[in-house]
């Protein structure tokens, strides 16, 4: 289904993604994918901290009530209980919002889950600017926090297709994972028959020679539009989609930057500590020259507001990615 734009100037509800104007969406891809996996894998269990309906895991709870544990508003305990379940051989998928998982339960993720590589899957909703509820609800630094924890795999999927495939991949992967969630009606950007997500694998979505865009999460959908806009201006832009932030696909990034050293990163997150920092780390470590411009959230607590307003306010749209690329080329 397609979703029309909301009344402008009104604080956005708890949404999922930039669904406005999306040509195609899928309903609750995480919940549906988890049910599919759980049908064949009896070790999968689900947990939430009073956000079942808001993280789409209520579908799993309805289908497998005996394998679902409501933990209540207690995120530290959510992660601890999940770690305990993992240590008895289960594969717990624990859902809450990015902000509550990473800010409130950090020590529990680091020590309870990651130190001993417990097989815990943390599914975190409202990444970046996918809610208009302001500083309390917008997960703007979660990737930076999670990237800094040893043993933890960190994934920011682009769309419904990749999210579904990631659920399947992380269920089969032994070890702790932090997966950013897109909920509700989620855009379908990648063709499910053509795209194949793999943990740790970046995907070159467009070949180009003038500028390289490296993007993650829902920003890849905007980056695809930016590539088309740039092409209209006669600029050849490569696009590398990096949905796994950790382990980072250094090889793919370096191969691209060696060919095209003018790089724009695009992420639904602070421009420090996330994708841009990972790209900078990789290129500096390898001594590969890079000219980098970063599109993302500046280091501030963001305003409340409608999603279109916030995207415009923090310069996170496809036009902003294209403008950064043009600025770099014409400098």
């Amino acid at each position: 289904m397609s979703v029309s734009a909301p009344k402008t100037g009104v604080t956005g509800n708890i949404l999922s993604s930039d669904i406005y104007g999306a040509e195609r969406t899928a309903a609750a891809p995480f919940g549906e994918a988890l049910i599919r996996e759980a049908e064949t894998n009896p070790r999968i269990v689900g947990l939430t901290a009073d956000l079942g309906k808001y993280t789409d895991i209520h579908l799993f709870a309805n289908r497998f009530p005996e394998r679902f544990f409501q933990i209540g508003m207690a995120e530290q305990n959510l992660i601890s209980v999940a770690a305990g379940l993992a240590r008895t051989g289960f594969i717990p998928f624990a859902t809450t919002y990015c902000v509550f998982a990473t800010r409130r339960a950090y020590d529990f993720i680091a020590i309870g889950a990651a130190l001993g590589s417990a097989n815990v899957k943390i599914i975190a909703g409202l990444p970046g600017l996918t809610t208009g509820y302001g500083g309390t609800h917008q997960g703007i630094e979660d990737l930076a926090l999670m990237r800094s924890i040893p043993n933890l795999t960190v994934i920011d999927p682009c769309d419904a297709t990749e999210l579904s495939q990631a659920v399947s991949a992380i269920a089969r992967h032994e070890g702790p994972v932090y997966l950013r969630l897109l909920r509700g009606q989620v855009p379908v950007v990648f063709d499910p028959d053509a795209y194949q997500f793999e943990i740790g694998q970046a995907r070159l979505l467009s070949e180009g020679t003038d500028v390289a865009i490296i993007s993650t999460g829902l920003m890849t959908a905007r980056a695809l539009k930016a590539v088309a806009q740039l092409s209209g201006s006669g600029v050849s832009a490569a696009l590398l989609h990096v949905s796994t932030l950790k382990p980072f696909d250094t090889e793919a990034v370096l191969a691209l930057v060696r060919r095209v050293p003018r790089v724009v990163t695009a992420e639904n997150h602070f421009t420090t500590g996330g994708l841009a920092s990972a790209v900078a780390d990789a290129t500096v470590d390898a001594g590969v020259p890079i000219h980098l411009k970063r599109v993302g959230i500046p280091n501030c607590f963001c305003e409340s507001g409608s999603i279109p307003y916030l995207v415009q306010r923090y310069r996170m749209d496809s036009e902003d990615i294209a403008a950064a690329a043009l600025e770099m080329i014409h400098k």
Partner: protein, 290 residues
């Protein structure tokens, strides 16, 4: 102890348990003397509970630690690991010789224990983690239809961590009557007694209010510990809290009597005295029992 034997049903005399407890205390002194310091007060104070758990109550196989039907012991309080190492050595999970590496570089027996050591089910030490993981394990073994039970050791100071109470609520909510929490009240935390740091009393009624079957006993009385666990086992539909009033340094008079310290530093010449006092105390107890 071998896999499949439910130790809790075999009669083990109190005297035999007291001998194990003495042995645990000897191990604790041996470890602490090697490094000249450590959490010796906690190790001596908790030896009686660990003895009852490892030599009477818990079913486990020291030669197959991954046995899925085992009972699980979770040490929230990582700095008490000196006590658990002693129990694990006494139980044959690790060798007594390995105790000499306590706190040494590259040793598996870290001063704040973690899951790198065999027999450690989780990493404690960052306080407030144990009970939540115990709840997860209790849900897990129940989902698998196993008869395993989960035992978690917390401390009085640890009750100040809010996550403990999140876990306490969930244990009662899920009616985890195969979960046992032991709260060691030795009246000492890093900055002093809890009543000066942050009041935690009334401990008994707090657990009761959170929906737990609760008892409070002398945690250095093996007979009382045995009776409390036996009584708890009969209560269904609720998790069990057993609050233990213990004496830091129990069994070694000079440690029992000195100003209470969270982390005891001992002068080199005091260790011989400590060992002698432990043996004297044990002989007195034996005479009394006889």
């Amino acid at each position: 102890m071998s896999g499949g034997t439910d130790v809790s049903t075999t009669a083990t005399s109190i005297t035999s348990l007291q001998l194990h407890a003495l042995s645990l205390r000897r191990h604790v002194l041996r470890m602490a003397e090697r490094v000249g310091q450590g959490y010796v007060g906690q190790g001596l104070g908790i030896a009686d509970l660990l003895t009852v758990l490892y030599f009477r109550e818990m079913k486990y196989d020291p030669h197959n630690l991954a046995w899925p039907d085992r009972d699980r012991f979770l040490l929230s309080i990582g700095h008490y690991s000196i006590g658990l190492y002693a129990a694990l050595a006494e139980a044959g999970v690790i060798t007594v010789d390995e105790l000499d590496t306590y706190g040494a570089d590259q040793s598996r027996l870290e001063m704040a224990g973690s899951e790198v050591t065999p027999g450690f089910e989780m990493t404690g030490g960052s306080l407030g983690h144990g009970l939540g993981q115990a709840v997860g394990m209790a849900l897990g073994v129940r989902l698998d239809g196993r008869s395993s039970r989960i035992f978690n050791l917390l401390s009085d100071g640890e009750l100040q961590e809010g996550s403990t109470w999140e876990a306490a609520m969930s244990a009662a909510h899920y009616r985890l009557d195969h979960l046992f929490a032991f709260i060691d009240c030795n009246d000492q935390q890093a900055d002093g007694p809890p009543r000066q740091v942050l009041t935690i009393e009334p401990v008994h009624s707090k657990w009761e209010a959170f929906g737990w079957d609760t008892q409070r006993i002398n945690g250095n009385d093996i007979h009382a510990i045995v009776n409390a666990i036996d009584a708890a086992r009969k209560i269904t539909g609720k998790p069990h809290a057993i609050v233990l009033d213990t004496l830091m340094g129990k069994g070694v008079r000079t440690f029992e009597e000195r100003d209470k310290n969270h982390f005891i530093r001992v002068e080199p010449d005091e260790w011989r005295l400590a060992r002698e006092q432990l043996e004297e105390n044990a002989q007195l107890k034996t005479k009394r029992t006889a």
